[in-house]
Assembly symmetry: C2
Homo-oligomer: 131 residues x 2
């Protein structure tokens, strides 16, 4: 398997991580994802890790990188489906994933992203009326 | 990796196949998917195979089985993201995947499922008005 598929769902992109990540795969995911955000002008990225039973510091760092890259491209990242054991490990590893929002599942993640977009639009409207 | 994740998106379920399938994984996917269709009363299943570069007769049969199982549970199956080379191989293998609808990507697959649901509702309405 060379690439992790990125699915476009309306304004958002969805990535399901199912396989063990290694350096090359992580790099190609970062490249593909940033290219897709730019191409579709996506406002949000959902990363589902419900099938990951272990998240080590490598994957943790990769997720943090993806979130940071998305942010500078004006897209929010939401991590969904984290298993309880993974949450425990992450905190034990000292990785609290700053800058990444989480949601229980993809549906709630989408709702979260839609709220963000709605809030953005509202604040833009307010700015507009003040002009 | 033990299980392929199944993501609930509104009335539909989304499965992204990224890894090489083997007997056990295919069986657990069938079990999980039928259980989820029943639990959520889902009306549609989207199977994305955009990252598969090869679809052999084993996967072809598995997809056909999933579609048949979904159908008896009153859910439509749409296969999305098939690579051109895969389409060529499938036809050469003599597998035309009867009973499975296909769509270019997940977004179009969702539109297709929504059309089906809309049509179902309309025909139910018509039946209702005739009573």
């Amino acid at each position: 398997m060379d690439r992790i598929p990125i699915l476009k769902m309306g304004d958002f992109l969805l990535v399901t991580i199912q396989v063990d990540m290694h350096d090359e795969l992580a790099l190609s995911l970062q490249e593909d994802l940033t290219a897709r955000i730019a191409r579709h002008a996506s406002r949000g990225v959902l990363i589902d890790i419900s099938s990951l039973e272990i998240v080590d510091s490598f994957i943790g760092r990769m997720l943090a990188n993806i979130a940071a890259m998305s942010r500078v491209l004006d897209a929010q990242t939401v991590l969904t489906g984290m298993q309880p054991a993974v949450a425990i490990t992450l905190v034990e590893l000292g990785m609290s994933l700053p800058g990444i929002r989480t949601a229980l599942n993809v549906e709630r993640g989408m709702e979260l992203l839609q709220e963000f977009m709605h809030r953005d639009t509202e604040s833009e409207d307010n700015n507009g009326s003040e002009e």
